[in-house]
């Protein structure tokens, strides 16, 4: 945009945007006329539309000029068309069916509120909060209000509505993707944090451990529980058989009076499972630990078969 002179008239502009400095505005000064008549290159037009979203003065000038440029469409002299054209056009066109009238409109969304004012000639033109990026559609909504209320090329509004609906669909899709990415990122972040915690624990100088052995139902399974002086504890198992749907592994601290549930585990496809455990105050270290198979969701006291057992050598 640097090729445009910055000298300009502020005469009839309505500078209401206090955040827009003259320095920011200067490269775009007086470009409204070029924009309205379609004489900006694609790059300059995009830059100017971005500027429009933050400059009420330029919006005001464009709005005042758009009805003029739209009226210019009537500036070409009418001409008689060749007579055979009529039959050709009418024949080919009517061979295709018009679009059905009763095609349902997409559900209304907040952006539609901007259009609702179009039916009320006295509705003030909304000036929209600046956005980070975009094709300037919101500006066009504002600019088109004048056209609509002066009875000009109001069909343009329908085009805008269509464009906004497309944009909204794209935005919804992008939002869903973003949410999914954020969820995955959050999961990854949590997994990373847990890995780091496990790593810190097992590499600590005060780490202690207890091994659990596979019982007859899972002879190839084994596990190790590690803890430190801060009572941070991790349970690492491998070789666990896969379970039928509806069953889950449940780990227990075995206390003298009754077992206390420690965690539910769902091994990965290799039969591996790692989980950080909270050690209840009632547990004396080193603990006695056992793992059973229980119904999904776990149970308050063990009811199923024993798969792993570990107890300290006294």
């Amino acid at each position: 945009m640097g090729t445009y002179s910055c000298a300009g008239s502020k005469g009839q502009g309505l500078r209401e945007n206090a955040t827009m400095s003259d320095l920011q505005h200067a490269p775009f000064d007086e470009l409204a006329a070029l924009y309205a008549v379609g004489a900006l290159s694609e790059n300059d037009r995009t830059a100017f539309e971005t500027h429009l979203e933050t400059c009420l003065e330029c919006v005001s000038e464009v709005k005042s000029l758009l009805p003029v440029t739209h009226a210019l469409v009537h500036g070409a002299p009418p001409l008689d068309a060749p007579a055979p054209l009529r039959a050709r056009v009418l024949g080919q066109v009517t061979a295709t069916a018009p679009a059905p009238r009763d095609r349902p409109e997409p559900a209304a969304a907040p952006l539609d509120a901007l259009f609702s004012g179009l039916d009320e000639p006295d509705t003030p033109t909304p000036f929209v909060t600046p956005r980070r990026r975009g094709p300037g559609v919101l500006f066009w909504l504002a600019a088109s209000l004048l056209i609509a209320t002066t009875g000009g090329v109001g069909w343009y509004v329908a085009e805008l509505r269509s464009q906004v609906q497309s944009l909204r669909a794209a935005l919804d899709a992008a939002t869903r993707l973003t949410q999914r990415a954020e969820t995955q990122m959050e999961a990854a972040r949590a997994a990373t944090a847990e890995r780091e915690a496990v790593l810190a624990l097992v590499t600590g100088s005060d780490v202690q451990q207890l091994d659990l052995e596979g019982q007859p139902l899972a002879p190839r399974a084994s596990a190790r529980v590690l803890w430190n002086n801060a009572a941070e504890m991790v349970f690492i198992a491998t070789g666990l058989p896969s379970l039928p749907a509806g069953d889950v592994y449940q780990l227990w601290f075995v206390l003298p009076d009754a077992p206390v549930g420690a965690a539910l585990l769902e091994p990965d496809q290799n039969g591996d499972a790692t989980v950080m455990l909270e050690v209840p105050d009632t547990v004396t270290l080193p603990p006695v630990m056992a793992m059973t198979v229980e119904p999904a969701g776990g149970v308050p006291a063990p009811t199923g078969d024993l798969y792993l057992l570990g107890q300290p050598t006294r």
């Binding site: 290159s41 068309a81 009238r101």
Partner: protein
């Protein structure tokens, strides 16, 4: 509101009011949306001179202009249900589609290196002389007389710059090269000309 009134008399016969035209436009578009070929024929007969004139003004080629006419009426036929008479005349609707399609076609033609050279200086050579307005249909019943008169009344340099942009789809830089003038001069001519047009139309 004056501008809207001005636009809406386009395509109307003298003595008809904008309200009459709105009613006709709405009813015709509705019949088109219902698939009535006679309605399309009526719209064609009423507006073809405007549409073809604009397409010829932009493209300067009869074959291309006829193709644009075909596309415009096809679009009007398939999108008639979207037309809203309270928001503009059928003439404006058709003409905006015509300009858009014609400019697209013109730019596409320019992008082809082996295409026929563009009619340079057409804006200067072919501009209707205000004194010969009747020959160009300026005073016919189908014209938007106020706009035409105001455009014709502009100084030639301003009118040429505006028409090169609006009817030939040229950018400020391209107009500057065509007219061998600095870009700043082109910008000033366009802006001054548009402001004069606005003033003239608002005083109608």
């Amino acid at each position: 509101m004056l501008l809207g009134t001005l636009i809406d008399v386009t395509g109307a016969g003298w003595g008809r009011t904008p309200t009459d035209d709105r009613v006709v436009d709405r009813e015709t578009a509705q019949r088109m949306a219902e698939g009535n070929p006679e309605a399309l024929a009526a719209v064609y007969d009423r507006h073809i001179r405007l549409v073809f004139g604009l397409a010829m003004r932009v493209l300067q080629d009869q074959g291309d202009a006829e193709d644009v006419v075909q596309e415009v009426f096809s679009q009007a036929w398939t999108q008639a249900k979207r037309y809203d008479a309270t928001r503009g005349s059928v003439a404006s609707w058709l003409l905006m589609m015509s300009r858009s399609r014609a400019i697209d076609r013109l730019r596409s033609r320019r992008a082809k290196p082996d295409s026929a050279p563009l009619p340079h200086d057409t804006a200067v050579v072919d501009l209707p002389d205000p004194a010969q307005g009747a020959e160009h249909g300026v005073l016919t019943a189908e014209s938007a007389s106020g706009l035409r008169v105001a455009l014709a009344a502009l100084p030639l340099t301003q009118r040429v710059a505006i028409e090169l942009a609006y009817f030939e789809g040229l950018t400020q830089t391209q107009i500057a090269e065509r007219l061998e003038q600095p870009p700043g001069t082109v910008k000033t001519r366009i802006r001054t000309g548009l402001l004069k047009l606005r003033e003239a139309l608002e005083s109608e």
